[in-house]
Symmetry: C2
Subunit: 410 residues, 2 copies
């Protein structure tokens, strides 16, 4: 499978990143055909292996978390003890042979390990060195660690998410982490393109702060223009009515009819003449009579199933979407129809996962490797990179791959 035409064929990525954004980014690179070498701490490994689940759940999942399985295919795992001189020496020797090096250590850690940009560049001038931090590389908060929820709070995302006059709520998924992962992918691909044209490597970076600010960019510009500070409105919107979730007999649907023609089609399709009253006929009228309209429309939608509402309104091109649970969404046939669902085996178990978030039709993605067991490819990768057997034995004895590995081979 590795022979197939892939966009990133032949590109080697050395990935020191852990948990979410970094691994999500390098999975995209792996899906595109890059050879991703995941460096993990001996014994412990990427914390994502057991994060996001309780101990009881972890047992049920065979010792590795769903989020690790979702974000670590198409990688090989090696263990390196960066606390040992031999581990750091091996890391630098490997980095010298890679096109891209990714990390999300705190600022200065890579330099302290002797595998900072300048160290690698001296051996490998074209290297693309990628840093992912919480708050960026300069400024008063640059040395503070944070996670997705922390940046939801800091960025104001929490402040626009929730019901009016009630506490904020979190965006249910790690949107800032995952958005940051695609910012990192974009940065790396732009740098690879530049290197292909000029031979020049460089440092690239992104952060949870940059990711969160990009997600809020139009709110910030609006605020900077006239001081507007938006507040949460449940599922509703200050621009138009209806534009929110309405109850159905078995759940809910989003209904959006921003202009008068669409509203008329909505009224007709629902077959409830009282919705056709004059107060509701214009954009401004619907905004002015928001509470009344929402109540009147809810009274109608509550009598129908979600499916019926989607069919009636969809047929007349009113924007309508069913509110799915996570399970309904995962199993909805549309996602599988567009190739959005991957199936593969990991340690003998069938695993399903979401595909790469874009398609290149000329150079399609594929699952060449399931998420790796911790350190499963240490020997294989080192041998491929030209390490001699004696050299590998010496590194192992010096603890480069961790005590567990040293013991295993003894």
């Amino acid at each position: 499978m590795r022979d197939q035409k892939k966009a990133l064929k032949g590109i080697k990525v050395l990935d020191f990143s852990r948990i979410f954004a970094g691994p999500a980014a390098t999975q995209v690179l792996g899906d595109l055909g890059a050879d991703v070498i995941k460096v993990e701490e001996p014994a412990r490994g990427d914390e994502a292996r057991y994060l996001g689940v309780t101990d009881a759940e972890l047992q049920k999942f065979g010792g590795v978390s769903p989020s690790f399985l979702a974000l670590n295919r198409n990688k090989r795992s090696i263990t390196l003890d960066l606390g040992s001189p031999a581990g750091r020496k091996a890391a630098l020797a490997i980095a010298a042979k890679c096109d891209v090096v990714v990390h999300n250590f705190r600022l200065g850690a890579m330099e302290k390990f002797g595998i900072g940009y300048e160290h690698i560049k001296a051996l490998n001038p074209g290297v693309i060195f990628c840093e992912f931090t919480s708050y960026g590389k300069q400024g008063p908060m640059s040395h503070i660690g944070a996670n997705d929820l922390g940046l939801q709070a800091h960025s104001g995302l929490l402040s626009v998410t929730g019901e009016p006059n009630r506490p904020p709520v979190r965006v249910g998924t790690a949107a800032i982490d995952l958005h940051g992962s695609l910012a990192l992918v974009s940065a790396i691909l732009a740098a690879l393109f530049h290197r292909e044209r000029t031979g020049e490597g460089q440092i690239v970076e992104t952060s949870l702060l940059m990711s969160s600010a990009h997600l809020l960019s139009y709110f910030y510009t609006e605020y900077w223009m006239d001081g507007t500070v938006r507040k949460p409105m449940g599922t509703a919107n200050h621009l138009s009515v209806p534009n929110q979730v309405f109850p159905s007999s078995d759940g809910g649907v989003v209904i959006i009819a921003p202009n008068d023609e669409m509203w008329q089609r909505c009224v007709k399709a629902l077959g409830e003449p009282s919705l056709g009253r004059a107060e509701f006929a214009t954009v401004l009228g619907r905004l002015d009579n928001r509470a009344m309209l929402v109540e009147a429309l809810s009274a109608v939608t509550r009598t129908m199933t979600s499916r019926e509402l989607v069919e009636r309104l969809g047929a007349v091109k009113v924007n309508v979407s069913k509110v799915n649970t996570v399970g309904e969404a995962a199993d909805d046939p549309q996602l599988a129809a567009i190739g959005g669902v991957l199936e593969f085996e990991q340690d003998g178990r069938p695993i399903k996962a979401v595909a790469n978030p874009f398609n290149l039709f000329g150079t399609p993605a594929a699952v060449d490797l399931p998420p790796p067991d911790l350190g499963a490819h240490t020997d294989e990768v080192l041998r491929e990179l030209g390490f001699a057997d004696a050299e590998m034995t010496a590194l192992r004895e010096q603890g480069a791959f961790g005590k567990a590995q040293a013991k295993k081979s003894a």
Copy 2:
């Protein structure tokens, strides 16, 4: 400024996309130095110019919306009437000279206009043709249009966002649109890299559905593994306590202390001995006594300002973040310190906007052009692409650039 070293220098992008995801993507390409030619409908233009604001707000903003200003710098605007044969002819002739063509029309529209992939490829074999749709290119829902909120509903994102046992709420920003924009950037950059190495163009695509599924990917894998369907928990988390927003005397802060050592540091830093009780000492104890702990901790945090909580807890490396409003977040000095705030002039007004969501230190981004006025660069772009004056006059008379433009030049 266009002479500066930029990653995408010399790359021409013809952008038919409107509103959010497409324009957000091509702005990133423009920031990287690509020459982005934004094609707009004559007279009307990209709906984003006036979307997201009421008419009264639009007046205040000088006739163009904050979201348009936030997402359309580093582009030139041309108007083309794709309803006229001359407009379609001009579109194809321009596309023949571009490296990348982006659109988010419904499926088949570009082919109907005579500017589908096959039409352009016949003249320009290396073209990268990019499609952004709602639900993808195949399957039962491929012909349905939808927007960000629709996909928040369909994907299950709404179903995990909100307070327990209360209605779902929307993610306050257009996260699926903007995440999709970086998926599109990634797809285009990967295809450009492949073309640079092989000369081959291709079709690339993404969709709101792929973007939303990527954001929910670990929820889906978990569901597929054992049927778990997550529910919203406000700002809290099923994994650990405390891990949510707590009230301060002047707002709120996120406090996260997932392990026992961090919890002990948190107790000590807050100076409230009653938090040190045995029931709260272990991860499991805190989970089992969630309500009691949240109440006890809230009673303490409520007596302190957000700033005091951030200082006390930050000093002992407990994860803590202030819940900022949109305005506080926009003005927070950290964003400006990392170069995250751009300032430029548009029609004589000073505008502030969020920078590109990643940095390439060897080939930095810059604002070379403010968001364009509708059709401001039609003549300039056509002349640069080699259209002769007589040809441009003929196209104009045939309505290629719209009636308004034809009149203006008459």
